[in-house]
Amino acid sequence: MSLTQLADEDLMQLVRRGEPEAFELVYERHATAAFSLAYRMTGTRNLAEDVVQEAFLSLWRSGARYDRTRGSVRTWVLGIVHNRAIDALRRSMVHERRRADLEPAHLEERFESGERVDVEAARREEARDVRGALQSLPAEQSKVIELAYFGGFSHSEIADMLEMPIGTVKGRMRLGLEKLRTSLSGLAPGAAA
């Protein structure tokens, strides 16, 4: 069986043994999602590239930490990217600049990940569903979720920015996630279980 036929979880076993070809395939499959998230969070290509590079090298060096019982490889990769991007944002001045620009960047979408067409189509649909679910949240809930998840701001920073008590921010975060979960639970597998 060729490497391309292996599932991500099986590729990770080879990555754990130090096989670069398996790692390259994992990169191919998830680099676009990783870069998209990093770019959405940092807003600059250079910083997004640094974040993705750090995240994938960390994956290469710590493949043994992947535990398939705790989720898909994609979720794991994106979790690493998210953490690295938050670190990068908190270290850099970009965070200060983005404070004044809280709306999502308008970007031209490009799918160049080398995925099969049907996989790409499914991902586009999934992306549309998640965006739709986010947009259907009350504005005050989607705002705190976006500021926290994509902006990398802490609940106390958000409370300062929006001039509201921390408890209100936390409550809106939890309530927003609850509603998001409910809207996504009836959709395609992978969006929300």
Binding site: W60, A64, L107, R123, I158, K170
Partner: protein
């Protein structure tokens, strides 16, 4: 939700807690079934969020940069054989090839001073005329430092490695020089170094007879008997 800390679950999942607060809440989760269940229940909503980001393909050069590092590390791991440990392990102190004085990890400042002295010594030797010097440009891999460079200088009196523009090793680590002969495992050396303000350093490299590759990795202070960091410099002296 029966626990009063349940209100924190959203902030925890979204990464919106300060580091210390996050640590405290993670400890709380260990002992609170209600919060743990709530985290598990809401996690899929957070896991779906990245899908809403507009899809942007990374530049092809990024893949090349990452794969260059991965391939060089894989090569070193293969060369190091089954003893290689992919998870950095604490350095063993007792290495028979080290002089007793070198068994103790040097504080970085001391090491830096020693390097300056060493660099001056080497410069004096080179400036004194006598032995002809051949230089070999090394390949370097410091993604955040495009101006980093390294050269192996070979003379009749020995060899040295000179680096410029190289980032300081991570906290608590030093750069260690390794020698590889043919396909055998890389041999550690007592050539450990850190860099000055401009990222420069010069260090004597031991006997290069039969050596096919000189490599450098970042290792725990005091050095490591087996490579644990990625290869950041490679030179072929032959």
């Amino acid at each position: 939700m029966s626990c009063e800390r349940g209100i924190d679950v959203g902030a925890y999942l979204l990464g919106a807690m300060a580091e210390d607060e996050r640590t405290v809440f993670a400890a709380h989760l260990e002992g609170c079934d209600a919060c743990r269940e709530e985290v598990a229940r809401l996690r899929p909503a957070v896991d779906a969020l990245p899908l809403s980001a507009p899809a942007i393909a990374p530049p092809p050069e990024l893949r090349e940069r990452i794969m260059a590092v991965v391939r060089s590390e894989a090569e070193l791991l293969r060369a190091a054989g089954p003893e290689a440990d992919r998870v950095p392990a604490p350095a063993r102190r007792h290495r028979r090839w080290l002089r007793p004085a070198a068994l103790r990890p040097l504080p970085l400042a001391t090491l830096a001073c020693a390097l300056v002295a060493l660099a001056i010594g080497i410069a004096a030797l080179a400036g004194g005329g006598g032995s002809p010097v051949r230089t070999v440009d090394a390949s370097v891999s410091f993604p955040g430092a495009p101006r980093a460079s390294a050269q192996l200088r070979l003379g009749s009196g020995g060899a040295s490695l000179r680096v410029e523009g190289v980032p300081a090793p991570p906290a608590g680590k030093v750069y260690e020089v390794w020698l590889q002969r043919g396909t055998s495992a890389p041999e550690p050396t007592d050539a450990l170094f850190t860099v000055g303000d401009r990222g420069d350093a010069s260090v004597n490299v031991p006997d290069l007879h039969g050596v096919s590759k000189v490599m450098v990795t970042a290792e725990p202070a005091g050095g490591s008997p087996h490579p644990t960091g990625r290869v950041v410099i490679v030179a072929a002296p032959a």
